[in-house]
Symmetry: C2
Subunit: 122 residues, 2 copies
């Protein structure tokens, strides 16, 4: 599969896919005679993983590290688990923060709907 089709599929741009590859998050993607990238099924799986984690705000630097460890093999399992746990903790905190803001927005909109607006409070 060529880059623009992959980009389309995941809602990314070709630039972003090349950028992820440069950063070592995916690939290196095999290229044909013409020098054009040809994404395999396993490339797509990694992109899907990266996309999911990036959408949740996990940093490129973490993903890079994790993927490097992954590619190193079984002796990195313990370290991989540790950084996953660390990221999960960070993510949990963010989820809680966002849930709080979400609840607050909901309450606020509710007050707007019921026309009970406290002029002093945001």
């Amino acid at each position: 599969m060529q880059i623009s089709e992959v980009a389309q599929k995941f809602g990314l741009t070709p630039d972003t896919l090349r950028y992820y590859e440069r950063e070592g998050l995916i690939g290196p993607i095999a290229k044909g005679e013409n020098g054009i990238r040809n994404y395999t099924e396993s490339d797509l799986q990694r992109i899907q993983f990266v996309k999911c984690m990036r959408a949740a705000g996990l940093e490129i630097s973490f993903l890079k590290k994790y993927i490097q460890l992954f590619d190193k093999g079984d002796e990195t399992i313990k370290e991989r688990r540790e950084i996953l746990v660390e990221q999960r903790k960070i993510l949990k905190k963010k989820l809680d923060d966002m849930q709080e803001a979400y609840d607050r927005l909901n309450m606020k909109i509710d007050l707007y709907d019921k026309n009970i607006l406290d002029k002093s409070l945001m």
Copy 2:
């Protein structure tokens, strides 16, 4: 209350508080004879609102707009409600994305714990 105490209270830096004020998210904060900011209770309430929304990733530009409308008075109620609803939608999408990544991390860590690791999958 002085800037560093406020910063402390909210886990922000004085720099960030001055930055928020410059951007019109809070204040302008009243200053004493010496030119030093003195935060009132109502300033603190706004900071708390801004902090909550920023922690959830809402953009400065949105907060600025909302606060401007708020300060304009009742004729902006409808518009305010609309942008709150818009932000809620954006936030919901992010929450869902993050929940997905969180679940995935959990599953992954679980597999690490049970020593069932598929070498082909991240």
